[in-house]
């Protein structure tokens, strides 16, 4: 058992190295020269020497393999390097944006479960009834709706409702305030992106809850509980739901990791300065190389670790 867990955990290492290599490779393959873009963005002229000096500063004149070794070695020492784009340490770049994304992701998971678990349970209890059908349509619609469109619809609804209610349009704030300083303002900003992402996630969780519940409800011990005359409410809450939620919780762990990746688009719609803003490549400034590669690697390794952990749990 312990050997199995250790083996699984050790298998994460090559995956992480592979993810790092892939990110590094992708970033080096993107056409364009960061130094040319940086020097040219001021509008002034520059000569070949300035480009070379810039290359030397960023370490881009060294062999590619050595750059990669540096990149990976940095991870192990907790040194994430300096963003080639802004010149600030990558860790501060990420730290400035991470709280927003993390909070939205956590809220989205909460939203998803608040929607998914009761609906999934009801759907399983009333299998093949009109209610079940309606809930299933609702959940497939969640998977089919593009999250950015849902975000736009939310903004539309907020504008229209606030227009009619207060006479002037109101928009959620876009600058981040920590929740302990101004909880209302913080929630006003976070809740709509969280709803957008959460609805989508809830679709998967809901289907999982439903099929797990259906399976559990057919077990012998449920029949025993019914036979001894237990109240239906207790059978469902204590006996059935508790057992059915096991796979749901596993799924939640995997989903949570991927949520942060999925925030890329939602943050764009709501104009939030989250970690997703580091990852997409704004067409005008294609080259945020270093910051992208670190944040991508962050996503990648986070997902890989949680995936292996989940695999370990479910298969052991």
């Amino acid at each position: 058992m312990y050997r199995y867990i250790i083996k699984r955990l050790l298998l994460v290492i090559p995956t992480l190295l592979g993810a790092a290599a892939l990110v590094f490779l992708l970033m080096r393959l993107i056409p364009g020269d960061i130094c040319v873009v940086r020097l040219g963005s001021g509008g002034g002229t520059f000569d070949e020497r300035a480009v070379q000096v810039c290359h030397a500063q960023l370490g881009l004149d060294r062999p590619v393999f050595l750059q990669f070794v540096d990149f990976v070695w940095g991870f192990f020492r907790g040194d994430f390097g300096i963003s080639m784009w802004s010149g600030k340490p990558v860790l501060t770049e990420i730290a400035a944006r991470f709280p927003v994304s993390l909070e939205i992701a956590i809220m989205a998971v909460v939203v998803a479960n608040v929607i998914a678990i009761p609906l999934g349970t009801i759907s399983a209890l009333k299998q093949n009834s009109p209610i079940d059908l309606a809930i299933r349509v609702f959940s497939i619609a969640g998977l089919a709706t593009p999250s950015f469109w849902l975000g736009i619809l939310f903004i539309l609804a907020i504008l229209n409702i606030s227009q009619t209610a207060f006479g002037s349009p109101w928009m959620p704030p876009i600058d981040y305030v920590p929740i302990w300083r101004d909880p209302l303002r913080n929630l006003a900003m976070v809740i709509f992106p969280a709803l957008t992402v959460g609805y989508r996630t809830s679709a998967v969780t809901m289907r999982m809850t439903r099929s797990a519940m259906l399976e559990v409800l057919r077990e012998d011990y449920i029949r025993t509980a019914r036979a001894k005359g237990l109240v239906e409410q207790i059978i469902i809450n204590r006996h059935a739901l508790k057992n059915a939620l096991l796979p749901v919780v596993t799924l939640m762990g995997i989903e949570a990791a991927f949520l942060i990746g999925g925030l890329v688009v939602t943050e764009q719609v709501f104009n939030l300065n989250g970690i997703g803003r580091l990852a997409p490549f704004p067409p005008s400034q294609m080259m945020c190389r270093c910051s992208i590669d670190r944040s991508c690697a962050g996503h990648g390794s986070f997902a890989a670790v949680s995936r292996s952990a989940a695999l370990g749990c479910s298969s052991s």
Binding site: T15, L22, A144, W149, I152, L156, V269, S301
Partner: protein, 245 residues
């Protein structure tokens, strides 16, 4: 079929509300929304089907191949596929677009690459269980070659999960294409695409001309919804274990 040209600007009819002349209204350049949605369907379906077919066939080959031969090849290929899978689909697609550039063909490549391991993994796991079934041993005992065993005995038996994935991928690819186009990194103007219609000015005109934002999104949602329903029905029909659930 479309009443107007999807790219013709008509500055006498900008941001008009839905009417008999323009059923779904016009956008900020006076282009007819209905015509643009009809032409956008072509882009969405081309991208959706080509990504889904290429990705799932590649996944089928990799999945059955690694399951059948096993050993080192299996281990290394699984490692590579795991690495690709560690990235969310849209981030991987963004990275590929950043390298190859935008446009319909590059978008197809960008969406296909992250879909391949997702198919390979499912096909592999069901192929692995088939490999242990006695009739494969029997086929080997008869002296059949690798290709005959793979093509005649293994591939037909993984068809059920394969077809389900194929339909699911069409929807996913359409969604991914719309997302990329919305971010400005997918299909480029003047090719009409649903994601692009949302990018154009949907947010700016949200309060004055909500139809610009609503209809293209509805087109995406309904199309993907249709493919999801089809995939679900297919799963119920093909998988006897799920039939009475």
């Amino acid at each position: 079929m479309a009443p107007y040209s999807p790219t013709a600007n008509d500055f006498s009819a900008m941001t008009e509300a839905p009417s008999w002349a323009h059923w779904l209204g016009t956008d900020q350049f006076g282009r007819d929304q209905l015509s643009r949605i009809i032409y956008g369907a072509r882009t969405a379906l081309i991208v959706g089907f080509s990504c889904a077919i290429v990705a799932s066939v590649a996944g089928l080959v990799l999945g059955v191949g690694t399951a059948y031969f096993g050993g080192r090849l299996d281990l290394y290929l699984q490692g590579v596929l795991d690495v690709v899978m560690a990235f969310p689909l849209i981030i991987m697609a963004l990275a590929v677009v950043a390298i190859f550039g935008t446009g319909v063909h590059n978008v197809i490549v960008a969406i296909t690459i992250p879909l391949i391991p997702r198919c390979a993994r499912v096909v592999r796991s069901s192929a692995l269980s088939i490999r242990e079934v006695p009739y494969i041993d029997a086929a080997r005992a008869c002296g059949f070659g690798h290709s005959r065993i793979i093509l005649r005995h293994m591939v037909p038996n993984v068809m059920a999960p394969f077809l389900i994935l194929l339909t699911a991928f069409v929807g996913q690819a359409i969604l991914a294409e719309a997302t990329l186009s919305y971010l400005g990194l997918g299909v480029q103007e003047p090719v009409p695409a649903w994601g692009l219609m949302l990018q154009g000015g949907a947010e700016e005109y949200a309060s004055t001309a909500p139809w610009i934002a609503i209809f293209p999104g509805l087109a995406i949602a309904l199309t993907v919804f249709g493919f999801s329903l089809f995939g679900d029905a297919l799963r119920d029909a093909l998988d006897p274990k799920l039939r009475d659930r």
